[in-house]
């Protein structure tokens, strides 16, 4: 099997290399790939869209339709994980710790539960004492990470960045919260319902912008026709459209990252995990 695999892999590799034999040298500015459409994007983007970041302009405007589906791909992964793993049955056994004394309680009756408050706290089955340094550092860091994420989203058309990147950063801040505290803390602060709504809403903002363009009489995702809605910004209307969809992407990506994380680490129970 391994030898067979090796032969197949080598043949594929050789075949792919054969295809590159006619390629222009690496970095050749006159290769066909860099002329034709690509050159147009570089030369005309600013003129047409007023977005200095060509990549963002191509991503969200020229090929914005691709990107909408790309967001949908992410959304699908999230909802797929949810559908596959989410397990609404409660856990059979619960662990609590008595805060004043540190005594651990193990309750086997699934119907009984204690109220969480000053006296009792949740505890995971494999309990690791919360690390004060970790907790504190993360508590300080998380708001900054989130601000940075918002910045990356908002400045997508000016500098490297955009909805995906910002969304991932924001999502990772939430994941950090779960890692440094525990999963319950995250789930308590950001409910599953909220994440679900956000995930769908983010993609809907994108698609909704497109539909709005349809309603305004243009083609789908033709931001140009939105100008009447934003008086005085006719020049920048395309960049503005990009911003709107970037925000949508950001929201969706953030929510989906978190959904995937929560479901995988807790095997769908949303109670305890990494």
């Amino acid at each position: 099997m391994r030898i067979l695999a090796f032969i197949v892999v080598c043949l594929t590799g050789a075949f792919l290399l054969y295809g590159t034999s006619e390629f222009p040298d690496w970095g050749d500015p006159n290769s066909p790939a860099s002329l034709h459409v690509a050159a147009y994007y570089i030369e005309k983007t600013y003129e047409e869209t007023h977005a200095p970041n060509f990549v963002t302009a191509v991503v969200t405007d020229y090929r914005g339709f691709d990107t909408m589906f790309e967001t949908a791909v992410i959304f699908t992964a999230g909802i797929g994980c949810f559908l596959l793993l989410r397990d609404f049955r409660g856990k059979k056994e619960h662990y609590y710790h008595h805060i004043p004394t540190g005594v651990i309680l193990h309750i086997k009756d699934e119907k009984k539960s204690l109220t969480i408050g000053k006296e009792f706290g949740y505890m995971d089955k494999e309990w690791v004492p919360p690390d004060l340094i970790n907790k504190t550092v993360c508590r300080i860091l998380i708001p900054f990470i989130q601000i940075y994420a918002l910045y990356v989203v908002a400045h997508g058309d000016y500098s490297p960045g955009g909805g995906f990147q910002g969304g991932v950063i924001f999502g990772s801040s939430l994941i950090l919260l779960a890692i440094s505290y525990d999963l319950k803390t995250l789930v308590k602060r950001v409910s599953e319902r909220l994440l679900g709504i956000f995930a769908a809403l983010g993609v809907l903002i994108y698609a909704g912008t497109g539909v709005l363009c349809l309603v305004m009489g243009g083609n789908f995702l033709d931001y140009g026709v939105l100008a009447p809605l934003f008086p005085g910004m006719a020049d920048h209307i395309r960049a503005l459209g990009m911003l709107v969809v970037e925000i949508g992407v950001g929201i969706a990506v953030m929510a989906v990252m978190t959904i995937i994380y929560i479901n995988i680490v807790s095997e769908g129970r949303h109670d305890e995990g990494l």
């Binding site: 099997m1 050159a39 994007y41 570089i42 200095p52 191509v58 991503v59 992410i74």
Partner: protein
């Protein structure tokens, strides 16, 4: 010989991508552990991303973002000065796809492990034939 060598040097990016891709593909076909296969898959997809991104590269060109200084004075933008934005754009999509697939594959692995308590393919096959 030197011809071949110079050919390789001039296009070593493609050689790298092919080798990376071969590693990934080999992992997907030959490995027994499902997680390893998933990782192989990820390497495979990354190789393609590498390929695309290297297509877009141009020597002596900068990132495809106009600085404020450029725009202010109405400088004519020359294509040769910026690397190709299109391939980066395409690869953003490919990355997202590969992340999504990876995430979902992981979720599946979790599920399979829950059910069979193993991720080794031969053991899984044994378990399935037992049922």
């Amino acid at each position: 010989m030197s011809d071949v060598l110079s050919l390789i040097i001039a296009k070593y990016n493609y050689w790298l991508y092919v080798i990376l891709m071969m590693i990934g593909l080999y992992g997907m076909i030959a490995k027994n552990n499902l997680i390893k296969k998933v990782v192989g898959m990820n390497i495979f997809q990354t190789a393609i991303i590498l390929f695309y991104v290297s297509i877009g590269y141009k020597t002596n060109a900068g990132i495809p973002i106009i600085t404020t200084a450029d725009t202010a004075h109405g400088v004519v933008v020359k294509a040769a000065d910026y690397i190709n934005p299109l391939t980066s754009c395409l690869m953003l999509t490919a990355i997202v796809v590969s992340v999504a697939t990876f995430g979902y594959a992981m979720a599946l692995a979790v599920r399979i492990y829950q059910r069979y308590q193993t991720l080794e393919e031969d053991e899984l096959r044994m378990r399935l034939s037992e049922e």
